[in-house]
């Protein structure tokens, strides 16, 4: 067992990075979408005609989970865990693991806070439906930090490939 781990430590760390990117960003999105969904359900119980509007707000925190999935897919693809398995050194595996961390943690926290912001924005649209555009910008601002993290994770993965 210890020999197997020693020989495949690189792959193990790469896979751990992919797992972190997927489940941490996914947890964040699940919490964010869940919170916004609860608020959206509250709105719909009073005014079902607002379904289209509140659905957009509910979906905003879902993107972090997708970003995590994208990073995980790139890692799996570059290490050959999808398709032909490649030789991955321990150092390369650790580098992939590190590359996954920005989107993993930024995805987790930004999705939770985007969910909170979306709940407040749903309240705004509920009272003033004509302010939909402005209300949408506020939670969308939180997305910036998830995108920055995604960018760094992707650049890091491509950088590791070029080494």
């Amino acid at each position: 067992m210890s020999d197997f781990l020693a020989n495949n430590a690189g792959l193990f760390f790469a896979l751990l990075g992919a797992a972190f990117a997927t489940f941490l960003a996914g947890i964040g999105s699940a919490i964010g979408v869940g919170k916004a969904g609860v608020a959206a359900a509250g709105v719909l119980s009073e005014d079902p005609s607002k379904f289209g509007k509140v659905l957009i707000f509910q979906l905003l925190p879902a993107t972090q989970g997708i970003y995590g999935l994208l990073v995980a897919f790139l890692i799996l693809s570059n290490t050959g865990l999808i398709g032909q398995v490649k030789e991955v050194s321990t150092l390369t595996g650790l580098l992939y693991f590190a590359a996954a961390l920005p989107i993993a943690f930024s995805g987790l926290f930004s999705a939770i806070h985007q969910g909170n912001c979306a709940v407040a924005a749903i309240g705004t649209v509920n009272k003033k439906p004509d302010q939909m555009g402005k209300a949408l910008i506020l939670p969308a601002m939180v997305e910036t930090y998830a995108i920055l993290a995604l960018l760094i994770s992707i650049l890091a993965i491509f950088g590791i490939n070029a080494m």
Binding site: V38, A41, G42, V43, N116, A120, G123, N126, K127
Partner: protein, 323 residues
Amino acid sequence: MRQTDFTYAVARVRYKETKLLTDNDLDTMLRCHDADAVLRFLKDRGWGDSSEDETVDELLDKELERTWEFAFESVDDHEALNFLLIPNDFHNAKVAVKCITRDIEPEGIMLRQAVFAPDTLYESVRLHDYDRLPDYLRGCVREALHTLLQTSDGQLCDVIIDRACLMTVYQLGRESGVDIIERYCELYVASSDIKIAVRSAKTGKSADFLRRALAPCDTLNIDKLITAATAGVDEVIDYLRETVYRTATDALSVSLSAFEKWCDDTITDALRPQKWEPFSIGPIVAYILARENELKAARMILLSKLNALDDDIIKERLRSMYV
């Protein structure tokens, strides 16, 4: 475990807030020629049921019932709203004690919106089965009934139950850990103490009576208030100038109803920031109090139209609206 996330309820409240009466709506109601026109205006806003022959009391009772139905439907932790309903339990306790000693049926006098079922309360008092009563009622109901039977002093009976009510509300405020509930409960107790002190000063009550009637709170020194109340109304006002209620003294100099308006307006002002709070119980509390406030305003306007009172008299008494 106490409910801490009220996202669903707050989302519903945000919609309901758009249906609350505004100051402009109150002006429109005041401009109506008669009570029927005011009723039509309220019915157009969705108040009451569809029946044409609904009376003022039926309409307002229906709306109060709807407000509480909505609150209980939206909030899982009903106990979180006890501080608003518990005064009704104490009102029902007074009714039960007095009806039983005078051998009257409490038909239509007990309030349905209460924490403890009014029928069970009445039966428990009638059978002297105090163990069925909740802790907050048990002691004061037993003492009030005993006092009423021995002395026939209805006012003393009220004082015992009212003080227990104030102490319970104060305690619930402290235990809530929610700033807006603490502030509401504190103002509820303090304003009641001030009203008791002023009335007592006017009627020349003794310090002993005041000690039995006043409930302790954080913003008033009860000993100083008792000393002031035994000296006179002006002394009470002078004492209040030293407290956080100095802005209430002008209203108090006018009348107790002006002071009550000051209390309601102060609470409404304190509640306004809840319009931007998305997660806590604050907006639900604010909505319930805002609804009670508008029902009070609607009742005032309707009764003024029914009794052909001057609009200016009513305008002075109308509270500022939450929205």
